[in-house]
Structures are given as structure tokens and as C-alpha cells.
């Protein structure tokens, strides 16, 4: 078996070869768009040209078989052109309106689900989980699947006051915009790590391990040629474990997930916001994480019932106040929600103005 001659430093192919002609023609000259339904929108150029986009759900973890099916659909209706989105959906683009309905019919026939456009819930930004990451404290793809099954109507048809962006991170490294999502799930450890001192000296760098700890809980343990952890300071972030294999932190019964809400990325109306911790712990319950899923659905529903049109989750909460968010959702307020990491000072209330 011969392989071709390798090249280096060529970078990715230039994008223009992948653009359909209507895009090349109207590139940078789009005038407006209209959302037709959660699955379809149309962009109209200054030229009058139109391009319809049909967005299709993807589990992101795709077999080559399914990717080939995307290719087949694209060939059949879109002259072979298609794209993926920044949130990992697939988009099929047609410039000839007559192809739109046949395309949708074909997609339906193949079992593809259309949706995610406009004011609803689109694909969940997520991470590797047990599928591929050593650091994972739960599975990300499984959580996403369980969540989206339950929230599917908001993907396909039902609308919300604005977009609700969900994210799942399988550890606090948070590979995704978890920290700025309307509703975010983060897997957490809850126990102080243990250290295999025997292996430490060979496998870890002392300063790196000490520097990895956000709470300065780690100090040298010269007797063991290793480090020790101050249990009173450790917040179980797992970063020491990330940088040093002989440190272990996983615990199947104690690892769990936390839910954060109210983050946002864009600057419309209000500045980008971080997500904030509201549920500190739910047991890790594969394969369908029923409580976590129920909690998320509950928050979405309370938001849907109470927010004004165009208000994102965080904007709604800031309007009504966090104390009202807790009372409306009935979520227990726990010590974990009080910041005692870096920014207690700015997160505590400094006035007698709050709601009962």
C-alpha cells in the first residue's frame, strides 16, 4: 500500500472552492433574511438572489456513513455544496426555490431532523466525555442526547422568548462556551484528590503541580518527594490531576453535575454574561440523567412562561433579580451559590433592595 507524498504547512484549503455559485456572486452583499420556520430560512441578496438554508440536527459525533449521507443529500439538491455550523448542525443551501420542498421531504424520509433556527433551542455545544477524554467526569454526548430528546419540541417547532443556548462540559476545563451559556451543565468532582507518591517523582513537575491549583491548596511534601493537599482549601477542580497522572480524583458515586444559568455571548442589548451556579449537585445518572434533564426542562419552562420577548435567560433573571429566579423555579438556594472563590466581594448584595 503506497501513500502519497506528504506536504507540510499548507493550511486548510481555501474556502472559496467550497462556496456555491450563488454565494460567490452575493458574497458580502446579502441584504436581509427571513426565518421561515425553525428548520428553514432564506437570505436575500442586494441582487435579488435568494438562498434557502435548511438546518439539520447532528449529534456531532458522526460516523463516516452519516457524513456520506450528508454528501448524498447535498449532491442531490445542492450541487454538492453544504456546510456545518458553529454549533455543529448541518446546513443544506439551495438557491432554487423549487428544490426546497423536495429537499425537506428527502431529509424527512432519511430520518434527519430539521430545526434550530430562530428563537428556540439549537444544538448543544459539548465536549468529549467518556467517548474520548481522560479528564471526563461524566459523558457529554449522552447528556446532550438525553437533554435534546426532552427539549426536542424547542428545536423543531416550539418557540421561546429568544434563543436558549445549552452547553455541556464533562469537567471544569469546560471545552466549550459553557461559561457563557443560557443553561450549562458542568460535571464536578466533590472529593479531595489522592496522590500516588511513588509515581509522583517520575511523572510530575513540582512547580507545575503547585501552580495548577486555583486555591493554593497544594504544597511540597519533601518527605515523600511529592506534594500534599490541604483539604480545607481544595475545591476539587481536578486541575492537579490534569497536569499530573499520579493524582486521582474520580469517584463514581460522588462525581456529579452542576447547573449554571444566565450566560450569554452576544452583545445585543446587554453585554456578554457568565453563567451562574444555581444547582450545585445532582448525582451522575447515566444513561439518561433524569434529574438533570428535568431540572433543565423546568428552567426552560419557567423562562418561557415569564420572560419578555427577546429577553435571553440571563437578561430575564437580571430584570427580575436572582432571588426571584430562585423563588420562581423553586430551586433551593445553597451555600455553593455564594461565591467564595475569587469574586465574593462583587457578587454579594450591597443594598437592602431585594425582593421577598
Amino acid at each position: 500500500m503506497t501513500v502519497p507524498q506528504r506536504k507540510t504547512d499548507i493550511g486548510p484549503p481555501k474556502y472559496d472552492q467550497f462556496l456555491p455559485p450563488v454565494i460567490k456572486k452575493n458574497y458580502g452583499k446579502w441584504k436581509y433574511h427571513e426565518v421561515i420556520n425553525h428548520g428553514t430560512m432564506v437570505h436575500v441578496g442586494e441582487s435579488g438572489d435568494k438562498i434557502w438554508t435548511v438546518r439539520v440536527a447532528s449529534p456531532r459525533l458522526l460516523s463516516t456513513d452519516t457524513i456520506r449521507e450528508h454528501c448524498d443529500v447535498a449532491e442531490k439538491f445542492c450541487d454538492g455544496f453544504f456546510r456545518y455550523t458553529t454549533r455543529n448542525n448541518v446546513e443544506f443551501l439551495v438557491s432554487d426555490e423549487s428544490k426546497l420542498e423536495p429537499l425537506k421531504k428527502d431529509l424527512t424520509a432519511r430520518g434527519f431532523k430539521m430545526g434550530g433556527i430562530g428563537y428556540g433551542i439549537t444544538n448543544v455545544v459539548h465536549t468529549q466525555g467518556w467517548v474520548h477524554c481522560h479528564s471526563a467526569c461524566t459523558d457529554a454526548s449522552g447528556l446532550v442526547k438525553a437533554m435534546m430528546d426532552e427539549l426536542f419540541e424547542y428545536f423543531e417547532s416550539k418557540s421561546l422568548p429568544n434563543k436558549v443556548r445549552l452547553a455541556v462540559a464533562c469537567c471544569v476545563n469546560m471545552c466549550g462556551a459553557v461559561h457563557c451559556s443560557d443553561i450549562a451543565v458542568v460535571a464536578v468532582h466533590t472529593k479531595v484528590p489522592t496522590i500516588n507518591h511513588e509515581n509522583f517523582k517520575n511523572m510530575c513537575e513540582l512547580p507545575t503541580v503547585i501552580g495548577s491549583c486555583p486555591t493554593r491548596a497544594i504544597s511540597p511534601d519533601p518527605a515523600n518527594k511529592s506534594v500534599k493537599i490541604n483539604a480545607d482549601k481544595c475545591m476539587y477542580c481536578g486541575n492537579c490531576f490534569t497536569v499530573c497522572p499520579p493524582i486521582s480524583i474520580k469517584d463514581p458515586e460522588r462525581d456529579g453535575i452542576a447547573i449554571l444559568v444566565g450566560g450569554k455571548i452576544n452583545s445585543l442589548r446587554t453585554s456578554p454574561k457568565f453563567s451562574k451556579l444555581v444547582i450545585p449537585y445532582i448525582s451522575n445518572e447515566p444513561p439518561r440523567w433524569p434529574k438533570a434533564v428535568a431540572a433543565i426542562k423546568h428552567i426552560v419552562e419557567v423562562y418561557a412562561a415569564n420572560a419578555r420577548k427577546h429577553e435571553r435567560v440571563g437578561e430575564w433573571i437580571e430584570r427580575i433579580g436572582w432571588e426571584r429566579f430562585f423563588s420562581l423555579t423553586g430551586i433551593d438556594f445553597t451555600f455553593q451559590s455564594i461565591d467564595d472563590f475569587t469574586f465574593m466581594r462583587d457578587t454579594m448584595r450591597t443594598s437592602s433592595t431585594f425582593k421577598w
Binding site: 471544569v172 461559561h179 458542568v186 464536578v188 466533590t190 486555583p214 475545591m235 476539587y236 460522588r254 452542576a258 449554571l260 444566565g262 457568565f274 453563567s275 451562574k276 451556579l277 444555581v278 444547582i279 450545585p280 449537585y281 445532582i282 448525582s283 434529574k291 428535568a294 431540572a295 423546568h298 430584570r319 433579580g321 436572582w322 432571588e323 426571584r324 429566579f325 430562585f326 423563588s327 423553586g330 430551586i331 433551593d332 438556594f333 445553597t334 451555600f335 455553593q336 451559590s337 455564594i338 461565591d339 467564595d340 472563590f341 475569587t342 469574586f343 465574593m344 466581594r345 457578587t347 454579594m348 448584595r349 450591597t350 443594598s351 437592602s352 433592595t353 431585594f354 425582593k355 421577598w356
Partner: protein, 409 residues
């Protein structure tokens, strides 16, 4: 009496605002110390530098505070200010006086001191500016025998202070004047015998206007509030409109919770969503007034910027009854001091210690539950402590949910 040439500070006798230089000179006419203080000040103005030395420890027998020792580096040149200590007299609640009492205060001060005062210092004391060490005991005897005591200084409870409250204000939600008096009396030992890690200030305002600046200037800020509806007198609402108030612009649109509506005739308030900010009430005092249960919000920790940056007080108790004999409040204060004492390094204000040890440690230490009213927003980063008890509680809740089939988030 030496006559100083004071061209620079003379400039400060010009203009409409009352002049402190004129005051100093007035006292200086019949008081050597005040006269030298005038010369001393001119010197500072001419060189643009101060000449007071770091304070020494002076005071009266049995007290560790109440007097700020002050000496000049230029004692030879200005002997009247070689010693120039201040005496802090604990003011009466709300700064009310009778002329009789005040004249007596002045007479004693003229006898022993410079005749100069600050009425009042920013903590609240009636500050007598400038006397000599050997006069201190007499001064104290004269004042105390007439019912006046010293205020706080050093690492002690500082003189508590309050707004005028029920005495001359329609908005006071508790008796600020009485609470201030009561606490001052209850904690005489803590005021006079410094035993804390650093200073501790208590300030009491009757409502969110916070006319004694408690939220910014007191380790413990006690701010009046209520639980109940805002009563509306629609006739008076009409009167405000008739007199030219643009109720929509000035009131409705400025309500932070958007819970007021006004259709040109009737005003409505969605009281459940009101955060009791006082804006509407203060601007339409004839038409609006709180009703229902009265009490106070307790906030902790404010201070000036040294060392960790300035702090505003943080809400710890959203609502507490503030009625004599203030038992609950005093128990709380006791627990706060105990926790502070257990956790502070020297010269650490309570706000600094709370930030260091974490709000949870503090709240648990004083036995207060976490409440959403305490925070502006929850933590962002998922770095947090879980105690074994927390975990047991989470797991128990989940077990319960499994039984009932209903989630409690």
C-alpha cells in the same frame, strides 16, 4: 498672644462659605493653643507639608481610647500645639442638643482646650480639637460628671451613629435613635477598652436613603425596611401631577423593578415585585408610604480602601425585627464579634476577614442560613466546597425524590 502673619490662609477667609480659618482665628483671639494652631497651619500652607507626628498613646485612666494623641514636630516654634490631642465626646443620638448642654460643653472646652472643635467627626463624635496631656483627666472628670462620656478610638467599637430617623423623618422603619443609644450603652466596655483586632463601626439608618452612610462607612450597617405594601393616596397622586410632576418620567420609568404603572389617573404598584428602593416614596412622600411589618436589613463589612480596596457592606440578614430590648440583634452582634475574634489577624477589619475566610465560613460561624437575598448573583466558576454534610443532604434529597417521584431542585 503672638500675632502670626497669615497671608495664605487669609485667602480662605474670603468668599461666601463659612470659613474655618475665621473660626480658628476667633478662638485664637482668646486661646494660645488656637492661636498657635493658626500659625502652624499657615506654615503648612507655605511649605505644603504637614508637621504632625504619628500619634502617641495618651488617654484617661481605665480607658484605652477616646483620645487621639497628637504632637507637632514644630513644638518649639508653636508651643501651643506641641501637644494637641483630640478628645472624642460621644454624641447623643441624632446630634440633638439643648443650648444649655452645649454651652456647658463649650465652657469646659474653653477651660482646658483650644476652644476648637469638630461638630462632628465623621464617625459621629463631637470632636474637641487640641489639648495637652495633663489636662486629659480633668477634662474627662468635668464631662463625665455632667453626663458625657468619651467615644471610641483604636481597635475598639467605635461610637455608633444614626440618622435622625423617627425624630424628624416620616420614613424610619425602626427607632434609629433608640437603637443607637441602646447599643452604645450596652457596649460601653467594647467602646472604652480596645480588645478587637481592629476598629468596628455600627451605623443605623431608618431606610434605604441611608442618611448616615452606613452601607459605606460601617462594619455593621443596620438599614430600615419593611414587609408590606406601599399605600397609595390617589388624591395626592393627582396633586403631584397637577403641580407638574411628570409621573411617568420621574417615577414609573425610574422604578428599578418596573412595578409601577400610571395611566394618567391612577397609580398602581405591583408590591410583590417592589424591591423597596424608596425612590417613588421619597419623590411622592405625600402620596406613598410603606405599610406592614417593620424592621431592618443587616449588612456587614464596609470600609475605606486600605488594605484590600474599599468595600460596601454585604447583606447577611435580609430582615430582622429591631425592637427594644433588641435581644436578637445583640445576640447576632455577639456572634459576629466572636467569629471575628476567632479569625482575624491584627488590623483586619471584619469585611477583610470574611473575604479571606469566605462568606460561608462566616455565615456558618454565626448561624445564618444561605439566602438568595444575600447575593447580587451566584458564583460563576464551578469551584466550590462540598462538605460531607452537604453531600449527605444532596443524597438524602435524591433518595426522597426517588420515593415520591417528584424532584425538588
Amino acid at each position: 498672644m503672638k500675632k502670626y502673619n497669615t497671608p495664605l490662609i487669609d485667602e480662605l477667609e474670603k468668599g461666601p462659605w463659612p470659613s474655618f480659618v475665621t473660626e480658628m482665628k476667633k478662638a485664637g483671639k482668646h486661646n494660645e493653643m488656637a492661636n498657635d494652631a493658626v500659625g502652624h497651619l499657615e506654615k503648612c500652607y507655605s511649605t505644603k507639608v504637614g508637621y504632625w507626628k504619628h500619634g502617641g498613646i495618651v488617654g484617661v485612666l481605665g480607658y484605652g481610647g477616646g483620645v487621639i494623641g497628637r504632637y507637632s514636630e514644630l513644638g518649639a516654634e508653636f508651643p501651643g500645639v506641641a501637644h494637641f490631642h483630640t478628645v472624642r465626646i460621644n454624641q447623643p443620638s441624632g446630634f440633638f442638643y439643648t443650648s444649655k448642654a452645649m454651652k456647658e460643653i463649650c465652657d469646659i472646652w474653653d477651660k482646658y482646650g483650644s476652644g476648637l472643635t469638630n461638630v462632628h467627626g465623621s464617625t459621629g463624635d463631637l470632636v474637641l480639637l487640641g489639648t495637652k496631656t495633663d489636662a486629659l483627666e480633668d477634662i474627662f472628670a468635668e464631662y463625665s460628671s455632667r453626663g458625657w462620656d468619651l467615644g471610641g478610638s483604636g481597635s475598639a467599637l467605635r461610637t455608633p451613629s444614626c440618622c435622625v430617623g423617627p425624630a424628624r423623618c416620616e420614613w424610619s422603619n425602626y427607632d434609629t435613635m433608640d437603637l443607637c443609644y441602646n447599643l452604645t450603652q450596652a457596649y460601653q466596655d467594647e467602646i472604652h477598652r480596645p480588645m478587637f483586632s481592629y476598629k468596628f463601626k455600627i451605623k443605623m439608618s431608618g431606610c434605604a436613603c441611608d442618611c448616615v452612610a452606613s452601607i459605606a462607612r460601617a462594619d455593621m450597617s443596620i438599614i430600615g425596611t419593611w414587609k408590606g405594601d406601599i399605600l397609595i393616596d390617589q388624591k395626592e397622586v393627582k396633586n403631584y401631577a397637577a403641580k407638574g410632576m411628570d409621573i411617568n418620567a420621574e417615577i414609573v420609568n425610574m422604578c428599578p423593578t418596573s412595578c409601577i404603572s400610571y395611566d394618567g389617573k391612577e397609580m398602581k404598584i405591583n408590591n410583590a415585585e417592589c424591591n423597596r428602593c424608596m425612590h417613588c416614596i421619597t419623590k411622592m412622600t405625600k402620596a406613598l408610604r410603606p405599610s406592614g411589618e417593620r424592621g431592618a436589613t443587616i449588612c456587614i463589612g464596609s470600609k475605606a480602601p486600605i488594605v484590600v480596596g474599599s468595600l460596601l457592606s454585604w447583606v447577611i440578614v435580609p430582615f430582622i425585627k429591631a425592637e427594644a430590648p433588641y435581644t436578637e440583634l445583640k445576640e447576632l452582634i455577639g456572634k459576629i464579634w466572636e467569629w471575628w475574634d476567632d479569625n482575624a489577624k491584627p488590623r483586619e477589619r471584619i469585611g477583610e476577614v470574611i473575604e479571606m475566610k469566605g462568606m460561608r465560613s462566616f455565615l456558618e460561624g454565626i448561624g445564618i442560613a444561605p439566602m438568595a437575598q444575600q447575593i447580587k448573583e451566584p458564583r460563576k466558576d464551578p469551584f466550590m466546597f462540598y462538605t460531607e454534610d452537604d453531600m449527605a443532604a444532596f443524597k438524602a434529597k435524591e433518595a426522597e425524590e426517588k420515593k415520591t417521584g417528584k424532584y425538588k431542585f
